[in-house]
């Protein structure tokens, strides 16, 4: 935990510096504007477009140094802790749940929301939740059906269907 506290502060400090650098970018259509010209005031006293994000990123950077200082003084709870940042169980669940979610979105892009929801629920309920096949299939089938009628039919929010779109056309003819 102690090492993670320092590493996170360093990563956030680097991200702050990146944000400061990006904030100073002028518009691409005007190459005459030098970097960081937009972080102060112009002749009319108006702050430039980079003013707000730049100084906030600087405040973030200074706060990261403050976190590092507290780490060095061992005043914050994570800097005093000898526990691991994530143990084996946490890593496993992070990969299974987080990985499952990324895979879910990948499937949504390809096969659409309704098939994606069905497959994700089967994966989660059966393989992570260890529920019976009957319960798994009931929930996994009912959820996308309810979502279809609520979003596509009632709310007219058409959810992407990927390559399964043609299968929904007859349903549109009936319900829309």
């Amino acid at each position: 935990m102690r090492r993670a506290e320092l590493v996170t502060a360093i990563v956030l400090a680097m991200f702050s510096m990146y944000l400061m650098w990006k904030s100073g970018e002028g518009p691409s259509w005007d190459p005459d504007i030098a970097r960081f010209d937009n972080i102060g005031f112009d002749e009319t006293g108006t702050p430039g477009s980079g003013f707000w994000p730049f100084w906030l990123s600087l405040a973030m950077l200074l706060s990261c140094f403050w976190v590092m200082f507290n780490w060095w003084r061992r005043t914050s709870p994570p800097s005093q802790s000898d526990l691991p940042y994530m143990d084996g169980y946490s890593w496993k669940m992070m990969l299974l749940v987080g990985g499952g979610l990324f895979a879910f979105l990948g499937v949504v892009e390809w096969l659409g929301f309704y098939v994606g929801i069905f497959l994700f629920l089967v994966y989660y309920l059966k393989f992570l939740g260890k529920h019976s096949w009957v319960k798994t299939l009931i929930i996994s089938l009912c959820t996308p059906v309810f979502c279809f009628f609520f979003f596509d039919v009632a709310m007219r929010i058409v959810l992407p269907k990927g390559i399964t779109e043609p299968f929904f056309l007859p349903l549109y003819d009936i319900f829309l």
């Binding site: 956030l12 477009s49 990123s57 976190v67 507290n70 949504v108 939740g129 260890k130």
Partner: protein, 520 residues
Amino acid sequence: MEVLPSLLDGIFQALQPVNLGLCVLGVIIGLFVGAMPGLGSVNGVAILLPFTFVIQELTGSVSSPMIFLAAIYYGAMYGGAISSITLGIPGASTAVATTFDGRPLALQGHAERALVTAAIASFVGATVANILFTLFAPPLAGVALKFGNPEIFALMLLAFSTFIGLGGDDIPKTIISIALGLVLATVGFDIITGEPRLQFGDPLDFFPATKDLIDTTGFSHGIRFLVLAIGVYGIGEMIWTINSTRGEVHMTEANVNFKSVWAAIKAFPKAAKGTFIGSFLGFFVGILPAAGATPGSLMSYGVTKMLSKDKDSYGKGNVNGIAAPEAANNSASTGAMLPMMTLGIPGSPTTAVLLAGMVIWGLQPGPLLFSEQPEFVWPLIGSFYVSNVVAVLVNLAFIPVFLWMLRMPFTILAPMIFVLSVIGTYAAYQNMFDVWLMLLFGMGAYLLRILDYPLAPAVLAIVLGPIAEPTLRQSLLLSDGEFSIFINRPIAGPITIIALILLFLPVAKFAWDKTRRQAA
């Protein structure tokens, strides 16, 4: 007094069967939409606006469609608390502060008390606001008119300072959280100069193989509040719960019956302080153009905590921490109607949609509305009272249904919340890039939470950022770059000074503790 007969006539009109039916239907839809993570009052009102033309045609009245939409607005304000308390995910930004104490109280086995407190506080807040709206509309509108950009920015500063000075979390981590939220809110285009800003390019440029598979629009449209909020509260919260409980989540068995709900109602006076502060502060903040219910609820939470003798109990299930934001968001939603109806200036995104609806129905919102369209104004105001009563009754009656969600095995609830989070993010913006971003934020939020980084300030910041930045820059434009404008003005000055005191409170406390230690 001319107000009372007009109001009674308005309530009588709102109680006509058609209007009452629309009130009930609107409240039920609002409760559902408000409770759904990813959908809020603005989504419900915007999506159903086209259907109101049918209502107008059927009833032949311009009041009826507005009554229907206002009831959705009311219902959504009540509904936001349901998911905040039962799922730990705010249904809308207005219910973010309700999560702070509502969720811990539910996890302690008092979900019914949290829900009843939220419902009654909402009812009281809305009732107070309705009375204030009815009686004091003209003078209050006059006060709101005096709020220029420096005053609004000072209020924003006060909201952030409250988190730093009184949040109780690690101060540098709180500042990082606020600054990160504010910077994320600037992504997209600078609304003053029109220059592109912090557009990181398409991240998938680094992975050409995904080019044909995944269609992204990059960061050009900015990072929306819901993307961060659902990521933090939907994905991050769930993964945190799964890991911190080792999958052995024992959801509270809430004892919901007439007796327990009645006991929760009898215990409500303990939340009177938060309700009182939220009702009045919420209304006042709600009438400020561009402020609305979210800052109102967050400020009410902060002020109630600040004035409490038992600050340590906040964030652990204090009923005042539920009552204050809930009273405030309901009160503010009525308050936001005030500038919309009297000045034609919407006080919140939802009232902006309502304003658009009024224009489409052939009405002209503004100072003349009260004198020229009383047959529209008073039934609408009457419907505020009627919707409020309907909302609290429907809400209380459906508490067992809401608590049923808590009794679900966590291995069913968690994937349902993941699905709701993904579908809710898509439904809000119809953009898959936002869904990917929401997932990344969720993962990041989980990793930061392990190290005690507070994430609520980042969510607050991304909501208030689009208000804070333009008001700061326009104020500085007004003063030729002089920051003294925030001190010199009679209203902005005291607010700024209080904000600065709160900002430096931790430093003063540190110095005081050090002096005491040395003296000892």
